[in-house]
Amino acid sequence: MEYTFEGQAKKNTFILMGVGVLLLILGSVFFMMGDHAHDDHHGIGQRIWVSIFVSGFFFFGVSLAALFFLAVQYAAEAGWGVVFKRVMEGVASYLPIGSITLLVVFAAGSLHLHHIYHWMDPELYDVNSEHYDALIAHKKPYLNQIFWWLRTLAYLAAYFLFFRWFMKSSLNEDSPLENEKRFFTKNQTMAAIFLVIFGYTSTTFSWDWIMSIDTHWFSTIFGWYIFSGMWISGMVMITLLTIYLKSKGLMDFVNDSHMHDIGKWVFGVSFLWTYLFFCQFMLYWYSNIPEEITYFKARIDDYTWIFWGTMVINFIFPMLLLMSKDAKRNAGFMVFTGCIIFFGHWLDVFMIVSPGAMGPNGTVGLIEIGTFIAFLGLFLFVVLGALTKRPLLVKHHPFVQESLHHHIN
């Protein structure tokens, strides 16, 4: 079973990229004619950088979540999901490009081409400057550019190395293995190490890359919240790609039971996300401490529809639509719900980033939608291209037979 990526499918990804860039340009032209085009902090440049960061981070998160889930499968000795292994690897293949996108945005921030990271301004740390900010200066031991860049490079390098290792070890599983058990144990050890590293770094990169946008504000559950959003987006992407490949008749070995189980994951992780969203929100809402509630005030006042909308889309939709067994096994239902919550979680990332970076002037307009579509095209181009490079079913994974016979009621 090999997938070939050519003809109409390849053309479609280019069309997506083209349409996205076109919308981006169109949106920029409209924006230039408006009032805010040359605002110091919320002008056209800033808005485009913010939209690139939002979509860039979102798709980076999708691929990182696929790598995470792959590692979970090994660490938990899970048998059922082996049929999805190659799709997970395909989704994870976007990781290098996603990392580069982030690095470009960060480098532009360091060069002061945009102001997503307010704290990168050296004047804030200068006692004699009129822009001196005591609270930010107090965070300097952690939040300074050198240490921040070291951390960023360390995260991305670690993820990249693990990604390469897993991809390479997976290829070995296509030829008969000399010692299946030892091979699996090695994968398991690497997966466990990766999960520990990922567990810590997913929290710290959420602080570094996203929470630092609202520099004064802090939340201890923030890392999990970002992580759960990434995870659900990754699960949806794996599900949608599987359904696509199944519809081409290339993944007939994926049966109803597999789709049911992965549907449960989409359903369950949606609840995890809701739980963390609400955990964070409710405690701040209840205590109502001025320096903490500003974060939500900026969102509820200026981004009312998006703030409550993400909650409804990402919670109510999967809850009601994916509750029953038949819905999870129905490809049409999964595609419909999946597309909605996939977009819902992109909207969630926008809602996290934009108020801090664009102030009250951020909206989901042609620029943001265009960037999303362009990144979607790029993502699909990379992922579908990666799926052609290896058979869609691993041949000699120790659990492949168990997975092929997976059956639940």
Binding site: F278, M282, Y286, N288, K325
Partner: protein, 174 residues
């Protein structure tokens, strides 16, 4: 005359293939007794999909409504509570504070409702007399139950010989 005939097995695989062989001869199986759930058995016996999940959903919805109704009465109508300066004029303004309790109450009612429904449906409530035909079906043996009345069209001796062919450890009537 006894009500039913039972075949006792010491292995679940032998019992499942026995059940298939019995059904292939058009003998109806009333029930099967096993100390643990057996994968795929419900498909062999053609048992309908459980409606317990629908029950759970209904209990959950009821609990959700009850919890919200209760709290809007206790905390807003009857004795408006001011906790931490939160407004107490309308349910929707205070909703986030009520969500954890509502959630817990929903889970409580759905879980207990499901468990109680299950016990009533199976009639295995505390103090109810055990209905398993053989004490070892809660230990390490498996039993197939065949009701005489359901199979009145088939000669009882023939049923016995069909059962004998499935290699049970014991056949008894009760």
């Amino acid at each position: 005359m006894s009500k039913a005939i039972y075949a006792l097995y010491d292995d679940d695989d032998i019992m499942v293939s026995g059940a298939k062989a019995i059904l292939a001869k058009n003998v109806k199986i009333k029930d099967v007794y096993s100390p643990f759930p057996i994968h795929g058995l419900e498909n062999v016996l053609g048992i309908k999909w459980t409606r317990l999940a629908i029950n759970a959903f209904l209990y959950g919805i009821t609990a959700l409504a009850l919890a919200l109704l209760g709290m809007s009465y206790f905390m807003i109508q009857d004795w408006p509570m001011n906790i931490g300066g939160k407004p107490s004029f309308a349910l929707y303004q205070n909703l986030p504070a009520f969500i954890p309790v509502t959630f817990e109450f929903t889970v409580l009612c759905a879980a207990h409702g499901m468990a109680i429904t299950y016990l009533i449906r199976n009639w295995t409530l505390p103090g109810v007399k055990a209905r398993n035909p053989h004490p070892r079906t809660t230990d390490d043996h498996f039993a197939i139950e065949i009701d005489w009345e359901e199979n009145s069209g088939i000669d009882s001796e023939e049923i016995k010989s069909i059962l004998q062919e499935t290699k049970p450890v014991e056949i008894f009537e009760k």
